[in-house]
């Protein structure tokens, strides 16, 4: 009784058949959900990485500049375009309000992305595949991507980063 003390003997009252059935079912589903996440780490192909390095905006910027210089193939709207070889380390930097560089990748090949920010938090949102990761200043987040589709993809920033947040959009091109 929500407003009155419970009736005598409430603690020893037997749980009704239907309530017991429901609780058992709910418990089983909960346990499946729990183990499913672990199973996906073993058999699934999409798991958020936890490889992270400490860095500083200065250091990460220097690494990205060196990376751009090494593999630069052109420029697009003032942003360098870079085509790194498969299985290499790729540097992507987020800053108010740009993603640099534009990346040209090959389908079915793995790339070890290093993503970090030079200022505030940013959100890495790959569209239209719709994969989303957080980008911090001072943390080098390592994500190994293997593109499974070709075409042009946008990197939308989806963490608020000030007044120009809506202009922060980058590009990844995936070739066959």
């Amino acid at each position: 009784m929500a407003l009155l003390p419970p009736e005598e003997g409430w603690y020893f009252k037997r749980v009704a058949k239907d309530e017991k059935m429901w609780i058992t079912l709910a418990l089983v589903v909960c346990l499946i959900l729990f183990f499913w996440m672990i199973v996906w780490h073993i058999y699934g192909k999409q798991n958020p990485s936890f490889t992270t390095y400490r860095t500083t905006p200065e250091e990460f910027n220097a690494l990205t500049m060196a990376f751009i210089e090494k593999y630069k193939v052109g420029e697009m709207n003032g942003i360098p375009v870079v085509e790194p070889p498969p299985n290499s380390d790729v540097f992507l930097v987020g800053k108010m309000w740009r993603w640099e560089p534009v990346l040209v990748l090959r389908k079915g090949q793995e790339y070890r992305f290093h993503i970090s920010s030079l200022d505030l938090l940013h959100g890495f949102s790959l569209q239209p595949v719709n994969m989303n990761f957080m980008v911090y200043p001072g943390y080098d987040y390592v994500l190994t991507f293997k593109p499974t589709s070709t075409g042009e993809f946008a990197i939308v920033c989806n963490e608020f980063c000030g007044i120009g947040h809506h202009m922060m959009i980058g590009k990844i091109i995936v070739k066959e």
């Binding site: 936890f50 989806n158 809506h166």
Partner: protein, 555 residues
């Protein structure tokens, strides 16, 4: 110092009553600000109108978050805690002086925060992720508000001790108050996290601390951010039980089960705050899986227990009153003309089918990749904290007006449809936001045509249709909320006084006849509804994992 309520027979401490009234009034003021902000936001994000300029969009978004998600709910919860620990227990307020102190601190915090936001010195959104920085007064305001709330929570415990010592109730607390105890324990853990993060942040904004680590800030901030919503969930469920009792005389078919479920909340619910860091650099999979599963989903289990216990309380009471035909005769003959009943029932449905289902998918480590920071996230919590908590609190207010403010409910005809307008509006809004998020539309974003950016991107054309639904649902919800505010304000300030039971427009249900012994199901209708829920849940889960499996590979 006391009056005896001629409707419920409860003893009411007049000093507690005054504090309940004041906190409730501030709750309504906060909600009004939140709702006006919501309207501006809907009309900005729907880019056909695109109402606000960019700086005001983020400013109003900050204003909306704090007023609708923090001030409205916490003021209302403090009113609820005082009500549950004095009136319900026939007891007195331990220290009205401290009650006033708590109230003044909270109002001061409310004023400082809103003033700083509106003057353009805190365009940081509710989360204010460092290194983004607001004016020190903003952080100070939040700290004052939280300290006030913390004093309120301690007063609640002091009230309980007095009631226990003076033996004003039986051996065990009523279930409503028991639920509030769970909420209050969670509140203390939550507010402690808040102190741990906002005090250093204040010092950092003053230049006393030199730097603030982005990762540490986000981790500790969510120790406040998410558990504060778990207080809401727990308080909302206490209100569901209260609603079932007041409207049809329904009591848990097994009190022990309901109480254990509240205890499970205390154990498991706070760790789930970790699910805000599922796609962040740093934490390991073991840490994420353990914490975000609420330690193996014991809090999800608790919610599912309540999802059966509350409707079955209603069903069982209705069946004992003679509505025994078929599976759903009890529901058909429920007091739908009582706005408190429709509000509570809609709150249960919206919380479960929209908020609950989406919440579990968002909170699983891998599927979080496809929802994080998209519009699906606010879509989810429109289902929990707006369609669930806010609607339940609105329903409870329909009893608060005659019993605590001693006024008749004005525009009673309007009140009968208000929960439907608000509830259906929110349901449409939440679902359309969730779907827009599934198309990748980001949350907290001024312009998804990316004008001024180096590149552009066009979302799937199907999103145009869901943006229209978004606007329709959003505007309906705003109308529903304004209806409620109109009814409450008019009743409280200009309403006819309630002079006795004859002026009571809502039924305070008498207990139903005792149950006869039988071997069958206690609540077959509820079981059917919960199985339907489970079916929808599993389908939604499989769809999301299917989508995830179609993404690029990542590890």
């Amino acid at each position: 110092m006391f009056r005896t309520c001629d409707i419920t027979g409860l003893k009411v401490d007049l000093r507690a009553e005054r504090l309940i009234q004041l906190n409730a009034v501030m709750a309504v003021v906060s909600l009004l600000i939140g709702v006006i902000a919501a309207l501006l936001l809907v009309l900005t994000r729907w880019q056909v109108v695109h109402l606000l300029p960019v700086d005001w969009y983020y400013r109003v978004l900050t204003l909306h978050g704090l007023n609708a998600l923090i001030f409205w709910i916490v003021f209302f919860e403090i009113a609820g805690l005082y009500f549950g620990s004095t009136v319900v227990l026939n007891s007195r307020m331990s220290s009205p002086k401290f009650g006033w102190l708590a109230f003044i601190l909270m109002v001061l915090g409310f004023l400082l925060v809103n003033f700083t936001i509106l003057s353009g010195n805190a365009d940081v959104l509710m989360t204010s992720y460092a290194p983004l920085q607001a004016h020190p007064i903003y952080y100070l305001g939040i700290i004052l508000f939280a300290v006030g709330a913390l004093i309120g929570v301690f007063l609640f415990f002091a009230n309980l001790l007095i009631a226990r010592k003076e033996r004003t109730y039986g051996d065990s607390l009523p279930l409503f108050t028991f639920g509030l105890v769970a909420a209050a324990i969670i509140a203390i853990i939550t507010l402690a996290s808040g102190a741990i993060i906002y005090i250093p942040t204040l010092l950092w904004s003053l230049g006393i601390i030199k730097s603030m680590d982005a990762g540490v800030y986000k981790l500790v901030w969510w120790g406040l951010g998410h558990p504060s919503q778990q207080i809401n969930v727990t308080a909302m469920i206490a209100v569901w039980y209260l609603g079932a009792f007041l409207t049809v005389g329904g009591t848990s078919i097994n009190e022990k089960v309901s109480r254990i479920a509240f205890v499970l909340y205390i154990i498991g619910i706070n760790v789930a705050a970790a699910h805000h860091l599922l796609v962040d650099p740093g934490p390991s999979p073991a840490w994420k899986v353990f914490n975000t599963s609420y330690i193996m989903y014991i809090a999800v289990l608790a919610s599912m227990i309540h999802a059966f216990a509350v409707p079955s309380a209603i069903e069982s009471a209705q069946r004992r009153r003679g509505f025994t035909k078929g599976l759903f005769d009890w529901l058909k003959n429920a007091p739908w003309g009582n706005p408190a009943f429709s509000a509570v029932f809609l709150s249960i449905i919206i919380f479960g089918f929209i908020g609950g289902i989406t919440g579990v998918v968002n909170g699983m480590e891998q599927t979080n990749i496809i929802v994080h920071n998209t519009l699906s996230i606010p879509g989810h919590f429109k289902g929990t904290v707006v369609g669930g908590t806010t609607l339940a609190f609105m329903g409870a207010t329909y009893y608060l007006i005659p019993l605590i403010f001693r006024k008749k409910i004005a525009f009673f005809g309007l009140a009968k449809i208000q929960p439907w307008v608000f509830g259906l509006g929110i349901a449409v809004l939440a679902v359309s936001m969730y779907i827009l998020g599934a198309f990748g539309v980001p949350r907290r974003h001024y312009d998804i045509t990316f004008s001024g950016g180096p590149f552009t991107y066009t979302f799937n054309p199907a999103t145009d249709f869901f943006w229209v639904l978004f606007a329709v649902g959003g505007i309906a919800a705003v109308v529903g909320a304004l209806m409620w505010i109109l009814i409450v304000v008019f009743s409280v300030f200009f309403g006819e006084p309630v002079r006795g039971p004859q002026d009571m427009q809502l039924q305070v249900a008498s207990p139903p006849p005792p149950a006869k012994e039988h071997g069958g199901f206690e609540a077959p209708g509820t079981l059917t509804l919960t199985l339907l829920f489970m079916g929808v849940f599993l389908i939604f889960l499989l769809l999301n994992w299917g989508w995830l499996a179609a993404m690029w590979e990542v590890r």
